[in-house]
Symmetry: C2
Subunit: 195 residues, 2 copies
DNA sequence: CACGTAATAGAATATATATTCTTTTATGGT
DNA sequence: ACCATAAAAGAATATATATTCTATTACGTG
């Protein structure tokens, strides 16, 4: 079987996510990631083909973790109030998985994906497409009369919670009190003009 | 007088801002900036001491452009409705000065400032402090009963418009229709719980 | 119309860091 | 106990790019 590994592939991924969250993807050098994971530089290349591939995996992993909960909630929403619940997944995600949230919310996607292998880029594109489709479907379902429903839904369920949480990240965690503020703001965004 | 310059220092700064907005600060190499500005690499170093200093100046310049309008509007606000007007400066800024907005909204501050000369860092810190003071003053003035007024004001006037605009940046410009959505959301954020 | 100056121009150098290579080490199976 | 294997370990190399250096050029001035 050979010598046992000190860490799993997932440990390495999480270490890379922490470093990328702390200092930004550009500063997440292989040396820094290896140090965070507690393995020598050379060992990193036993796990992953390149730094770009590892960073891209970080982004996809973080996005998948967020998307899982979000898609599920939004698809089931039968009313605007239920859609507002989906907006609250962002502050919760930021509390539960700080590194992933910082990575998704405080850096640009391209900094993780530009040099990625084609296959990873495709996974990332698929995720983005799914998100846009979910938003569009929800808009069609819950805001059928609004010609700009898609934009409104995106702003209400993604933009507003994103911005509200961003006020606190990356240093702190969003306090519990802002969830009510986010819910009120998202609801107002969905209803304004409809009144 | 010596040979005349092809470009002004401000031309160089704007070129750097465009490159940083387009590809992110990490990818804004001196070569790329020089090419964008239309001057050879060596000439860049006649204007600025280092790449880090130039990028840091970009951030400060962009922040100053935004802050000028924002401070002015917020200081004068005598009511919550007037404060909501300050939230609308963000989408307007994104339309009028796309590069500066992308730079401020889609990258992390530290990527521009971490290696900056001390003096530039201080200017940036002063700007941040001023922003926080303005928010805190407005909260004390317009939300005197709310113990979390500062956070609420920050989320309503910075976070919400920031997130709403971010849905469209960096590729596009925020459409005019979202201003009403932002205003409704910001107002709801300021009033929720007070009702 | 030379002369001094300040900028252009791009080649040369230094540095940081991603990647590769070689050696060493720890485990499971025989 | 010995062997094959897979990973650790870190030194060596390659590459990208920030910075410095050495000319060259265009303008105003005496």
């Amino acid at each position: 079987m050979g010598r046992p590994a000190h860490i799993t592939d997932e440990d390495l991924l999480n270490a890379a996510m922490r470093v990328a969250a702390r200092h930004g993807p550009a500063r997440a050098s292989v040396a820094a990631i290896a140090k965070e994971a507690g393995v020598p530089v050379g060992s990193v290349y036993h796990r992953v083909p390149s730094r770009s591939a590892l960073l891209a995996d970080c982004w996809v992993k973080a996005a998948e973790r967020f998307a899982a909960g979000f898609f599920n909630r939004l698809e089931q929403a039968k009313s605007l109030d239920e859609a507002v619940e989906a907006a609250l997944l962002t502050p919760r995600f930021a509390r539960e998985d700080h590194a992933a949230a910082v990575l998704l919310l405080a850096s640009r996607r391209e900094d993780f994906l530009d040099e990625a292998p084609e296959e990873t880029k495709n996974r990332a594109s698929a995720l983005t497409r799914d998100l846009q489709k979910n938003i569009a479907d929800a808009a069609k379902r819950l805001l059928p009369a609004d010609p700009k429903g898609r934009e409104r839904m995106a702003v209400a369920l993604i933009g507003i919670p994103y911005g509200a949480v961003r006020v606190f990240l990356p240093q702190a965690v969003p306090p519990a009190e802002i969830d009510a503020v986010i819910a009120a703001a998202a609801r107002a965004a969905l209803l304004s003009g409809t009144a």
